[in-house]
C-alpha cells in the first residue's frame, strides 16, 4: 500500500515535469503505425538489404582470397570487410524477431575476439560456430584478427595463408566465418521480407509487447550498451576504472574504430529522426512523435535537444584518433569526454523520452553471476 502510493506520486510528479500535462495531446492519438511503416520500409529493410549485399561480397572475396592468397586479393578482402562492417552498424540495433532468435549481434560483433580459441579452432578443425561459446571466435572481430592481426606486416600475415603448414585450415576458417555472416544476414532479411514486416507494422498498439515499445527498448539498449559503452566507455575504462585499449572495436586494423563509431552514431541519429536509409528523405519518427506531444524538457523542445545532443557527441568525437586504441593510450580524457556527451542522450532517451511516450524500460542489468 505504502509502495503503490509512492509509485503513483512519482509517476504523477514526473508526468508533470516532462509534458504539458493531462490537458495536452494524448500519446494514444498519434498514428503509431506510420512510424512502424517508416521504420520497416525505409530504414530497417533497406539497411538489411544493403548489409546482405555487402556480406555476399565479403564472402565472395574471401573465397577468392582463399583460392589465390595474393596481397592484392588480401587488400580487396580487407576493403569488403570494411564495407560490410560499416553496413553492419546500420542493422546492429535491430535485434528483434529473427535477429534475436539467432543472436545475430553476438555472433557478428563480440569484441575483444578470443584469439586463443580462433587459433585452436584452426588447429583442430572440429568447431561448431553455432555454439554460444563460439560467439567470440567469429564475426567481424575474428575476421579483423585474421586479416590484420596475425602478423606484424602484410608479408607475415600472408605467410599464414601461403607457406604455413596449415594454410588450408586458415582458408577454410576465413570461408566459414564469411559464409556464416552471409547466411545469418540473409536469414534475417528474408524473415523481414516474408511476413515479419507485416506482423511488425500491424502490432501498432501500445503496451510492453507492441512493436513500438519493443523497438524503442531495443534501440535504447543498443545505444546504451553497444554504442556508448561498447565503442567508447569500456575501452576508456569507464566501467573498469582503468582504460582497456585492447577492447576497442576493430583493434587489429589500427585505424578503423572511429569510422565504425561514426557510422553507428549516424545510424542511431537517423533512426531517431526517421531519416531514410541512404537518402535525404524522412518520415514519422520518435522525433516527430515527441513533437506531436509538444514534449519539453527544461523549457526546450525534447526532440531538438536529442538531435542536437547526437551532433554534440559527433563533434566531440571528431577530436579522436582514427584508432581508438591509440587514443586511449595517448589521451584517454578525450574518450571520456566523448562518453559524457553520449551519456547525456541516455538520460534524454531513456528517462525523458520514455516518460513522454509512456513506455517502460524492459531490460535490467544482470546480477553478474
Amino acid at each position: 500500500m505504502k509502495k503503490s502510493a509512492f509509485v503513483l506520486l512519482v509517476s504523477f510528479t514526473l508526468w508533470s515535469c516532462t509534458s504539458d500535462g493531462p490537458s495536452g495531446p494524448d500519446a494514444d492519438d498519434f498514428d503509431r503505425e506510420a512510424i512502424l511503416i517508416n521504420w520497416a520500409d525505409h530504414i530497417i529493410i533497406p539497411s538489411f538489404t544493403s548489409f546482405a549485399e555487402s556480406s555476399a561480397q565479403l564472402q565472395s572475396d574471401a573465397f577468392t582470397f582463399a583460392e589465390s592468397p595474393t596481397l592484392q586479393n588480401l587488400e580487396t578482402l580487407r576493403n569488403s570487410w570494411q564495407s560490410a562492417y560499416l553496413a553492419f552498424q546500420h542493422v546492429s540495433m535491430f535485434e528483434m524477431g529473427k535477429a534475436m532468435g539467432l543472436r545475430f549481434r553476438d555472433n557478428l560483433n563480440i569484441y575483444p575476439t578470443d584469439t586463443g580459441e580462433i587459433n585452436e579452432n584452426i588447429q583442430e578443425g572440429n568447431y561448431n560456430l553455432e555454439l554460444p561459446s563460439q560467439s567470440n571466435s567469429q564475426g567481424f572481430p575474428a575476421l579483423d584478427y585474421l586479416l590484420n592481426g596475425l602478423g606484424e606486416n602484410d608479408t607475415e600475415i600472408l605467410a599464414f595463408y601461403t607457406t604455413s603448414d596449415n594454410s588450408d585450415a586458415y582458408h577454410t576458417y576465413l570461408a566459414d566465418l564469411t559464409s556464416r555472416i552471409h547466411s545469418l544476414s540473409n536469414e534475417v532479411l528474408t524473415d523481414w521480407t516474408s511476413g515479419y514486416r507485416d506482423e511488425f507494422v500491424s502490432n501498432s498498439g501500445n503496451g510492453a509487447n507492441s512493436s513500438l515499445d519493443m523497438m524503442v527498448n531495443d534501440y535504447i539498449y543498443y545505444y546504451e550498451k553497444h554504442l556508448r559503452a561498447g565503442k567508447i566507455g569500456i575501452p576508456a575504462g569507464v566501467f573498469s576504472g582503468s582504460p582497456l585499449s585492447s577492447h576497442v572495436e576493430a583493434l587489429y586494423s589500427k585505424g578503423f574504430s572511429k569510422a565504425l563509431f561514426n557510422e553507428a552514431l549516424d545510424a542511431s541519429q537517423n533512426f531517431f529522426n526517421g531519416t531514410h536509409f541512404e537518402s535525404d528523405g524522412s518520415g514519422e519518427s520518435l522525433g516527430s512523435y515527441l513533437d506531436f506531444l509538444n514534449t519539453m524538457k527544461e523549457g526546450a523542445d525534447l526532440a531538438t535537444l536529442i538531435d542536437n545532443q547526437f551532433d554534440a557527441a559527433r563533434e566531440k568525437a571528431e577530436l579522436l584518433n582514427d584508432d581508438f586504441s591509440a587514443q586511449v593510450e595517448s589521451d584517454n580524457s578525450l574518450m571520456l569526454s566523448t562518453y559524457d556527451e553520449l551519456q547525456r542522450n541516455v538520460v534524454n532517451l531513456k528517462v525523458d523520452m520514455l516518460q513522454a511516450l509512456n513506455i517502460n524500460v524492459d531490460y535490467v542489468d544482470a546480477d553478474g553471476d
Binding site: 543472436r103 553476438d106 563480440i110 555454439l131 554460444p132 561459446s133 560467439s135 544482470a366
Partner: protein, 407 residues
C-alpha cells in the same frame, strides 16, 4: 519476539542504534562500536574454520566449470577434503585449505538442532550435493560442445555468454553454490552456533560467567561459538570487525546475498540488523546477559531466513520475466539459482521456535512442482507454476512477491 523483529525491519539504521542504547540502559553493559572484543588486551574473536569453509566452497564452485582440469574424483575430494578411503588429499589450489582437516561435507546439514537426531535426513542432503557434483562431470561435461535441448544436456546462450545445463535445464554449479548458503552457512549459524543447545552446552555458562577460557585460547567456549556463527557470514570480509563496509562483495554465499537483498528499498535494514544483533549479542555474552543474547540470535534467525526466501522468490520471478522475453538461457540460469535458495529454505529458522519456515517436505514438494510441468523440467515449466511457488514461499514470510521481485 515477533514485535521486536517487525520493529527492527521497519526502523532505519540510525534508530536501530538507539535500541542498543535503550538496551544498554536497561541491562547496563558495554557494546563496542565495532565487532572487536578483547581479554587482557588480546582479541577474543576467532572464526578461522568458517573462513576456511567459505574458501573451500569458492574453489569447489569454480572447479565445477573448469572443463579442462576437473574430474568427478576431484570435485568429490574438494567436497569431502579426503579420498574415498578417508585418506588425506590435496584437492585445493590454496595450500592452506589442503592443510586443513576441515571439510564442507562434514558441516552440511549438520546442525545440533535440526540434524543431531535426524542423521538419515542429514545423509540424504549430504548426498544431494554429491549427486550434483557427479552430474556436472558425468552429464554436462561430455556435452559441453553441444547445444542443449529438452532432455539433452549442453550449452545454452545467456546474453552474450553461455551456460551449461543438464537435461532438465538446471545448472549444477548454481544449485551447489546457492544450496550451500542454506545447508552449510545458515544451518550452522542459525541452528547450531546460535542455539542455546550449543551456546550453553556443558559448563559453558559457568565458564563464561567465571571467565574461564578454552585451553590454549583467549576466548570462552560460548564466545567462540557465537563468533563461529559470525564467521559464516563475515568470515571473508575485508574488515570483519566492520563488515557492512563491503557487505555483498566478500564471498559468493551468504555475505553476497545479504548485500544484494539489502539493496532493495523494502529490505534495506537487514544487513545492519544482522551485524548489530551479532555485536550486541556478543557483548551480552561478555556481560553474561543471556536473555539479551537470545533475543539477538532470534533477530539474526529471522533476518537471515528472510534473505534466503527473498532471493528464492526473486529468482522465480526473474525467470518468469525472462521466459516471457524469450530469454530461455537467462531464465534457466535464474531458476537454477532460485532452486538453490529454495533448497536452502529447509535450513531457515522461525525465531522463537525450533522449526524452519518451510519444512524439508515442503521444499521437496516445491522443487518437484518446479520441475514437474512436463518430462523435461525447466524446458516445460509454466509461468503460472513460477507464480504459484513464489506465492507459496512469500506467504510464509512478512514480504510480498512484488517486494521480492522488485529488488
Amino acid at each position: 519476539m515477533n514485535l521486536s523483529k517487525l520493529l527492527l525491519f521497519a526502523l532505519p539504521p540510525t534508530l536501530l542504534f538507539s535500541c542498543d542504547i535503550i538496551d544498554n540502559n536497561a541491562d547496563d553493559f558495554e557494546v563496542p562500536p565495532t565487532y572487536e572484543f578483547t581479554r587482557n588486551g588480546e582479541s577474543t574473536v576467532s572464526f578461522s574454520g568458517q573462513t576456511t569453509r567459505i574458501k573451500m566452497g569458492d574453489e569447489l564452485f569454480l572447479a565445477m566449470s573448469d572443463f579442462n582440469n576437473t574430474t568427478e574424483e576431484l570435485l568429490l575430494q574438494m567436497y569431502r577434503n579426503q579420498a574415498d578411503d578417508g585418506t588425506d588429499v590435496d584437492p585445493f589450489s590454496d595450500p592452506g585449505l589442503n592443510a586443513s582437516d576441515k571439510s564442507i561435507k562434514s558441516k552440511v546439514a549438520a546442525s545440533r538442532d535440526y540434524f543431531s537426531t535426524n542423521v538419515s535426513l542429514s545423509a540424504e542432503i549430504k548426498n544431494d550435493f554429491e549427486t550434483w557434483l557427479s552430474g556436472q562431470v558425468n552429464d554436462v561435461f561430455p556435452n559441453r560442445n553441444q547445444l542443449a535441448e529438452p532432455g539433452v544436456a549442453g550449452q545454452i546462450a545467456d546474453g552474450s555468454g553461455e551456460r551449461y545445463i543438464n537435461a532438465q535445464g538446471l545448472e549444477y554449479d548454481q544449485m551447489v553454490n546457492k544450496s550451500l548458503i542454506g545447508a552449510l552457512m545458515a544451518d550452522q549459524m542459525l541452528n547450531n552456533y546460535l542455539s542455546p543447545a550449543v551456546l550453553d552446552e556443558g559448563t559453558n555458562r559457568e565458564d563464561n560467567d567465571a571467565g574461564v577460557t578454552v585451553e590454549g585460547s583467549n576466548y570462552t567456549n560460548m564466545e567462540h561459538k557465537w563468533d563461529e556463527a559470525y564467521g559464516y557470514i563475515y568470515g571473508t570480509s575485508e574488515d570483519p570487525a566492520n563488515p557492512n563496509s563491503t557487505i555483498g562483495n566478500d564471498d559468493r554465499f551468504l555475505n553476497k546475498y545479504t548485500g544484494q537483498v539489502s539493496e532493495g528499498e523494502d529490505f534495506a535494514s537487514l544487513a545492519e540488523a544482522i551485524s548489530e544483533a551479532f555485536k550486541l549479542g556478543r557483548a551480552a555474552i561478555v556481560a553474561g546477559k543471556y536473555d539479551v543474547r537470545d533475543e539477538q540470535a532470534a533477530i539474526i534467525q529471522g533476518a537471515v531466513s528472510t534473505i534466503i526466501a527473498v532471493r528464492g522468490v526473486y529468482y522465480l520471478q526473474a525467470g518468469k520475466r525472462q521466459i516471457e522475453a524469450g530469454e530461455t538461457g537467462s531464465a534457466f540460469h535464474s531458476i537454477s539459482e532460485g532452486f538453490g535458495f529454495i533448497y536452502s529454505l529447509q535450513f531457515t529458522r522461525v525465531p522463537g521456535t525450533d522449526q524452519p519456515y518451510l519444512a524439508h517436505s515442503e521444499v521437496k514438494q516445491i522443487l518437484n512442482d518446479l520441475l514437474g510441468d512436463g518430462e523435461n523440467g525447466l524446458w516445460d515449466v509454466e509461468l503460472s507454476t513460477l507464480d504459484a511457488l513464489a506465492e507459496q514461499i512469500a506467504s510464509q514470510f512478512d514480504f510480498t512477491v512484488e517486494q521480492a521481485a522488485s529488488i
